[in-house]
Every structure is written in structure tokens, then in C-alpha cells.
Subunit: 354 residues, 2 copies
DNA sequence: TTGTAAGCGTTATCAT
DNA sequence: ATGATAACGCTTACAA
């Protein structure tokens, strides 16, 4: 009852239809030409036998594989899973499938996964590169003729299309808004880890989206007359405990910090919980803005103001670019910047009088 | 600069290493035997040439493919993306990769995806079957010798291992708790669609997890002396508007409904928003319990009591079962029931006096 | 231990 | 329009 029946081949169908293997293959593969009679005979034979083509073999001889590799930082994160959905929907419409891998935002894993995917001879790669300073593996993919599209991140040195948000500008929008209602001491909190817990050189930030946003933050804050904005960037908010520590440091600051920007929605949620655990009232005692319009930001009171990153669209665009490349588009690599508007909600209030 | 260099083969390496193709293949494939000298020569040649094996070809000749197909209802839903993460982590440890597909909870898409994945000759399949009454495609997979594991759902008629929660019991736990604090009129809300908006025959519920929970609900409610518990099951909460309608109907009921169970975390979030939009106070005016410990349930006030479905573990177990099958385990199919404990939080309060 | 040669299931070339 | 037949890149008897 549990048959490991080594599936049927075109040869079997050909035999049943009393034509040559070549003719059967032409009909089944939908290429070349065949007479109506032959076509009918073959299709009928295939039907009754229950023939299922072997895409492995097909890819072997054609050289192209119908599989696209996707490497994200963390599929559990709605930011990425939503993007993956966009990718998936778009790819399917082009008859492509998707092999998915998690880098856990670790370079070593990303390298490993690229290698695995290349071995599988994927038709193309969509990657959220973990570290803009290590690109050999991605360059190797390109050199092997496998198109690459970067997702959410842009690496100029790579000959690849990129889909990303307007990170630097989005920070500007947030800060302008906060400035309008009187905020001056504003904290930026990110998960990024540094050796000493302090913000280092900007060039050392491997994830371009993070680098862009912090750069924007520093620029705009300086323009607004804040002395040492780097002191307002808090790094290392990687988990609950670390974030708790960061919040403590923020609350101890003098002059008092009146608003917090959370670099992503995981951090945002943690910060929100910390603040409400400590009994702080939003937005009277603290304003909060997070990146990504996650579910949780709409059930809090007040609801949380967010920078809306339409990641489903990120995914769509990425897949579309890749498909274009697969179809032969050989134009120079482009960066597609997707607007990430500020969604105003109750978590921004007037700054406390200092 | 953009080379479509048709990658190197074992033959190229063999030539460079001055050995036969077979010897090179043996070394590179890590099978058979080779002298130390040969081994060194081959590896060195492979290294300097930059040889990358072709897994497609390998699968072709060995018959096994190193790829596992996963079909979920909606990768955007944290319930599934978390499970996928569990699957991914576990598979990787066994040197397997994962092709992922979305069924959008539609049978037709599921059938299509199974077919695509079988064509790709995946080694195995992990599926959250959309409809327990249509199994031909999954049976075909089994017949072709491809092991199948069902995720979150169990279909007895299928010769496949199943990983699922203790759905029926979990409803019991929830209801018992609610009963203790005085609730009698309790609503169960699900996304499931029916033709007339009413609950039909239980056997017609295609998703086993939903069927089990509703069955449990009806049984326990009856045991608690509620007359027509079916009237307390609200179906069709598929989107924001539909859920709004359901909530209206719930609030209009007499005798008044004092507690709501949300069949999944998307519905739970929608219901919560509806309730707070209407100014109802949790838990004084309404109690709420949701399935799945989603992020949003921990940032509301009060926090939402949930039935904790450890879906990462669901995924892990599913992958482990599949790996066991791939290794040749031929024992009869088993159902692995994973406990889904009730996490008590502030959203349960004493029932209003009626 | 090593090499020769025959597959795996397609596609693709070239006569017929 | 159709049919032999040779690839594709690997594994795997079987021989040497």
C-alpha cells in the first residue's frame, strides 16, 4: 500500500501512446510541434497513467530552475513574513517557487545559505544582506549569472537591484513632527550591537537601513541644534532585559528625554511594555514612535505612531525586479525607494515643559 | 563582467587534478574511497577552480532531493511564520532545505502547490490541510512515496503523522475558568465561513482544529447547562467589517453575553479593537480570551488571556517526524498532541450580575 | 584504489 | 511532423 513507485517518465507515456519519446516530450513539455492526433494520444496516455513531469530533470537539461532563493533575517518577524508573502504571491504568478532561508541576521549563516541555494541552482536570489561589508558570497552569485535583488537594504558596491524604504527621510519626518510639538531630547533605540555599547563609526554599521536611519537622526538632530546627538542613540536593545536597561538609562537622562524612536516593531513593543510597566503615561510623560505598522501598535492606548513600511510591497517589487532580470533585463542595477509615511497616532504628545 | 559561465563540473576538476571523473566525484561527493594523494589533488583543484557541486544533478542520480515542501495557510500570520521558523531550524540541522508555499487556506491552491512540489520531487511534505474532506492530492503524495506530516491539523483518513494542539481540551480549560468566575453566556467567534452565516454540521468543518474546538465548546457548554450552545458560536469573522458585525450581534444578545473566545489571534485583535472602540471596559464589562500568544496580547490593558499554542514547537516536531520518516521509520502514523495551556491574564473578570 | 561506462528524466539537435 | 540520439552533471555498478 505504501509504494515507492519510481514515477513514470515520458518514455512510459510514449510507449502507451505509441509514439516516440521525442514526440511525447514535445507534447508534455509544451514545446516544438506535434500533430493533433499525436497530441491527443499522448495527453490521454499521460492522463490515464497519471504522469507527473520531473522538474528536476527538466531543470537539469534546460539549465533554469523555477526556484528563487530568499534569505531573510527572521521569518518570525512580521516585517519579513509580510515581505515574503509579497514575494510569494508575485513569484507564483510567474510560475516560480520560493526556497526560504533564515540568516538570523548572522553573516556566517547568510554565506552558508547562499552557497546552498547556488548549489540548488536557484534562478535568482532575494536577500536582506546582514553585512554590507562582506559581499563576496553575493558577488559570487552574480558572477555565476544568478541575479540578486536586495530587500530592505541597499549595497552600492553590489551590482544588484535594491528595494528599500526612504529611511533617511523618514527619520526627518518623525523628528520634524516631534520638534513641532516641542520635543528636543529624543532618543533613538536600535537592536544593533557594538563592542562597547556606544555608537561607533557609521561606516561600521553593516545593515544599510539602520545606518541610513542613524545617519539621518544625527544630521537632523544637529540641524535642530542638539549638541551631541550621538549620545541619544541607544544601541543593544536585543532582548527584553537589554531593552529594560536601555529604558532605565533613557529615563535617567538629564536633560530629560521626552520622546523615543524605536528602530523596529519588536523593540517598539518592548519599550512600550517597559514604559507601561513603570507606570509612565503616553503621550503625556513620554512620546513613542516605532518603525513598522505592526498589529500591536493598534491595540494599545494610545495607539502607537509608526513609520509605515509597506513590506508586502517591498516583497512584490523585489520579486518583480528579479523576474525582469530573469527575463533578460540587463539595464544597470537600480535602487527602488519606497516611501514610508508617518502614521500619526496618539502616542505623540506635546513635550513636557522642562 | 556579467558572466553566465556555465559552472564547472566534476569533469573539469578531474582533469585539473589528473584523475578520472569517478575519483573526483568520489572525493567531492564524500562517498566511496580514494587514496590520500588523490583526495588532496582533487580538493586542491576544486578549491582553486572554485568548483560548486550541482545539487540538481546530484538529486537526479540519487533520487533524493534535500528539499522539503511546506504548505501553510498564511505565512503572514505569526501562527504559521513561527511554525515555519521551527521547521526551518530543525530541517537545517538535518541538511534539508525548505520550499514554502501559501495556500491562503484555499483548497484549490493547496492542490496546485502539492502538485508543484511533487514535480520538484521534494523529499517530504509538511502541510496544514485546508479541508479534511478533500485528500486526494495528499494521498497521491503518499502513494508516490513522499512522506507527509500535517501541521496543526489531524486527518485520520490520511496515513500521515500529525502534530496538533489539544484543541478540545483547551476549550474545556477556558470554559471551566470562565465558569468559575460566573460566566454562563459565552460566545465563540471563528473566521470560518458558512453558507447561511450559521453553524452547520460539525462534519462539514474542513479544518480539524476548528472542528475540534467547536465540538469541545458545544459539549462543555451543554454540560454546563446551556440550552442551545450552537447559538453562541459566531462564524464568518473574516475581516474587520465582518467582525464588527459579529461584535454588534454579540452585544445585542439577551441574556447578555459576558465573555468572548476568539478562535485565533487575528480575530482576537479585531474583537479587542471593536470592544475598545465602543468604549467597553475589559474585563469589567466583557471578558476576552484568544487563541495564540501573539505580540499584541501583551501590550493591551488589560493584557489578554490566551490559549498558548507553541507553534515553534509544532514546527519542530513536524520537521522531526518528517526527518524520522525520511530516515526510514515505517511505524504506523501517529498523532502528536501538544499541550496548549491557558495563560491567565487580566482580560478575564467576574461576570456582570445579570 | 582507480577507471570505464551506464544510467537518472528531461530537453534539444538533426536527420528523415 | 516525427524519431533517433546526444547532451545536462552527477552517482554507481562493475572491471581493471
Amino acid at each position: 500500500m505504501s509504494g515507492k513507485k519510481s514515477s513514470l517518465t515520458v518514455a512510459d507515456v510514449a510507449r502507451a501512446a505509441k509514439v516516440s519519446k521525442a514526440t511525447a516530450a514535445r507534447v508534455l513539455g509544451g514545446y516544438g510541434i506535434a500533430s493533433e492526433t499525436a497530441r491527443k494520444a499522448v495527453l490521454e496516455a499521460a492522463e490515464t497513467l497519471g504522469y507527473q513531469p520531473n522538474d528536476l530533470a527538466r531543470s537539469m537539461s534546460t539549465g533554469r530552475s523555477g526556484l528563487v532563493g530568499v534569505i531573510v533575517g527572521d521569518i518570525e518577524n512580521a516585517f519579513f513574513s509580510q515581505a515574503v508573502r509579497g514575494i510569494s504571491d508575485t513569484l507564483r504568478a510567474a510560475d516560480l517557487n520560493l526556497i526560504i532561508s533564515n540568516s538570523s541576521e548572522r553573516l556566517s549563516e547568510e554565506i552558508e545559505m547562499v552557497s546552498v541555494l547556488l548549489r540548488q541552482r536557484v534562478a535568482g536570489l532575494i536577500v536582506a544582506p546582514t553585512d554590507a561589508r562582506h559581499l563576496d558570497h553575493l558577488k559570487a552569485a552574480l558572477a555565476a549569472g544568478t541575479p540578486v535583488v536586495t530587500l530592505d537594504r541597499h549595497v552600492p558596491e553590489l551590482e544588484a537591484d535594491a528595494i528599500c524604504g526612504d529611511d533617511r527621510e523618514s527619520v526627518g519626518r518623525v523628528l520634524r513632527r516631534l520638534h513641532e510639538v516641542g520635543h528636543r531630547q529624543i532618543a533613538y533605540v536600535t537592536a544593533m550591537e557594538t563592542t562597547d555599547g556606544k555608537l561607533g563609526k557609521l561606516e561600521d554599521i553593516g545593515i544599510s537601513a539602520v545606518r541610513e536611519r542613524i545617519t539621518g537622526f544625527l544630521t537632523h538632530m544637529r540641524e535642530a541644534g542638539v549638541e551631541k546627538p550621538a549620545n541619544l542613540v541607544f544601541v543593544g536593545a536585543t532582548g527584553d532585559d537589554e531593552t529594560s536597561l536601555v529604558v532605565t538609562r533613557i529615563l535617567e537622562r538629564s536633560p530629560p528625554i521626552t520622546a523615543i524612536l524605536a528602530s523596529d516593531s519588536l523593540i517598539g513593543a518592548r519599550i512600550f511594555r517597559e514604559l507601561s510597566d513603570r507606570g509612565l503615561k503616553l503621550p503625556q510623560e513620554m512620546s513613542l514612535v516605532s518603525w513598522f505598522d505592526a498589529d500591536w501598535t493598534r491595540v494599545t492606548s494610545p495607539r502607537i505612531c509608526v513609520v509605515d513600511q509597506p513590506t508586502y510591497r517591498f516583497g512584490q517589487e523585489a520579486a518583480e525586479r528579479l523576474i525582469a532580470r530573469l527575463k533578460g533585463d540587463a539595464s544597470p542595477p537600480q535602487v527602488f525607494v519606497i516611501p514610508t509615511p508617518l502614521l500619526e497616532r496618539g502616542s505623540i504628545g506635546a513635550a513636557r515643559s522642562d
